[in-house]
Symmetry: C2
Subunit: 356 residues, 2 copies
């Protein structure tokens, strides 16, 4: 099978040495070896997230932890701030669990602004706020710090999906005051999929104690009981724990600031190209540095372009949901280098010429 | 790190070629390559389980699918047949989801008999029955076929945890009439942990359609929607899908009957040794062929024995929960060979001599 370079918003390419790290003789999840691994990994994640909160691990996709957040931390009513397809998922999950969740949706392409958050929370009816940091459908990165500054003034649990930004963009959990900050590892972490993680504030855990019907697999209190012993209640995906341990070392070797800077640079290069050939879908000033949604202003046949790119060994994504064909998406996250991005753009130019 | 041979009831040792199978360039879960992989794997699992039912995959441990079974298929009241520590988990999960579940517990070491199932179901108050096939705490394997023969006469959903028996013991899902048959892959499949699977009958799916509050991550109907396209709703653990694909080929190469026979032989050898030196905890005739719980009749220091075994490169398990020290457990499942078992027993004999 021919290898195809991935510029899809997860899974992304995984370095050979990380794949290699999964290849170790099996250990049991109730051994000293596992506990040491668990502790090492969670300490490193705390450093990445600038937090003293507990960071828990879940063998699931991040949607599972979103369900956990909803069941553990939404008491009366949740405010779901929506600026794209993934933002809606919070409400979907809440409703499928019999929770009340109200959507506040802005025009796709626009960000959630601190002002609308302030207005909504001022009603006083919400005890939780759910938000997507980086909206992978529209390519919008919401101004999380500024939103956090507003949310701080209200007695609500702030739950943030940072699935496609964590480890690619600086997120200061403690300083900003994020109660639950969650992600999975197949995006900016550049690991194979199968593991999710989140930081949880003590306040969120205290709230969970007052909640009934928290469920089992994503019950944060049950998870914490084991986490204190550096274990997980259920058998975790041990190979991905090895991979994450190794990858965190690589991330610190690169340097956190360098890593964030590299993502910024990649974002700039792609946007410059996109604006020259098409347009970017996200409102200016709110474009994501990990995924760019390109508006198909030239009305090209997106499916054809994608097919031709695959033939040449590169994969990008069509627009998501209702943005299919009207947009296409290029991810620039994880261990993707600036040279990879330039290489991809050259090949897209080539394909666009062929399609003319 | 010194490699330790695992005789623990999951995770178990994984063959190098299976670890190697995880080491492939990443693909996306919305690609043709993934769908082909998904279809291949589920077709092979259907063959293993002698079923035409759908077999779905879940990136989680099997507990997650147990939660799914409870939320999708328990309407009024569930009967939980308990003969050990893992059997109780069904009720734990049900209660944490606000479901009514009644335990029917037999003395630990004893099996669930068809008679008590018949008596319980004759009350007519249950719409679901939850059972552990192979009780990993007591080493009892329940007479599943005979229990199924009884359950068939009642209008209930039969949900069976075959976590530590599937792929080591013959289970004929269709002939026996099991609605939900679930397991994870780190036991008799001999894969690294991180993936679970279950077969679901059409009746169970029809029932799920009538259920509210099914949740999100383990919503069988949502999973089925994607399964029909040979996909999963959330990003699956792709490396374990590659590993499972490869391992199923190895399983068919060995031959299903040969594999089941090998487990039977290993069970016999361990039991013979156990009865000579100690005793087996499970009632005669109901001993598991994948894990043996040995009663510590000689009152040895189990922790010491385990520690000395680890020094020599072998790991077995202490008794589970309240059976700690009073029993210890030897797993003989997955790709463990008869020669491995004999080797282990020789080393245990050595250690027992040293402990004298």
């Amino acid at each position: 099978m021919k290898t195809i370079k991935l510029f899809t918003p997860g899974p992304v390419d995984v370095k050979p040495e990380i794949l290699e790290a999964m290849n170790q003789p099996m250990i049991t999840h109730r051994s000293k070896e596992y506990s040491e691994l668990h502790q090492r990994v969670t300490e490193k994640l705390k450093r990445l997230l600038f937090t003293e909160n507990n960071v828990i691990l879940s063998t699931s996709s991040a949607s599972g932890l979103m369900e956990g957040a909803i069941r553990n931390c939404v008491k009366e009513k949740c405010l779901n701030l929506v600026c794209g397809a993934f933002g809606e998922r919070w409400c979907r999950i809440a409703e499928s669990n019999g929770k009340i969740c109200e959507k506040l949706e802005v025009k796709w392409g626009d960000p959630i602004t601190p002002d609308i958050v302030k207005d909504a929370l001022s009603t006083g009816v919400y005890d939780a706020v759910a938000l997507t940091h980086n909206e992978t459908s529209t390519g919008v990165m919401n101004p999380l710090k500024e939103i956090c500054d507003v949310v701080k003034n209200f007695d609500v649990t702030l739950m943030v999906d940072t699935v496609s930004s964590m480890a690619g963009v600086k997120i200061e959990v403690d300083k900003w005051g994020i109660d639950i900050c969650l992600a999975s590892v197949q995006k900016c972490f550049a690991l194979p999929p199968g593991l999710a993680l989140c930081s949880i504030s003590d306040e969120a855990l205290k709230k969970a104690e007052t909640m009934e019907n928290r469920g089992y697999y994503f019950d944060f209190l049950e998870i914490m009981k084991y986490h204190k012993k550096n274990q997980t209640p259920a058998t975790p995906c041990i190979p991905l724990m090895w991979a994450l341990d190794k990858q965190m070392d690589r991330i610190f070797e690169e340097g956190l600031e360098n890593r964030f800077k590299r993502h910024e640079e990649m974002g700039k290069i792609i946007r410059k190209w996109a604006k020259k050939n098409f347009d970017t879908f996200a409102k200016e000033g709110y474009e994501s540095n990990t995924v760019t949604t390109v508006t198909n202003t030239s009305n090209i046949n997106v499916e054809n372009m994608i097919k031709k790119l695959i033939e040449k060994g590169y994969r990008i994504s069509n627009g998501y949901g209702k943005l299919k064909d009207a947009t296409f998406r290029i991810a620039h996250m994880g261990d993707t280098e600036i040279s990879d991005v330039k290489e991809l753009l050259d090949v897209i130019d080539e394909v666009l010429n062929e399609l003319k």
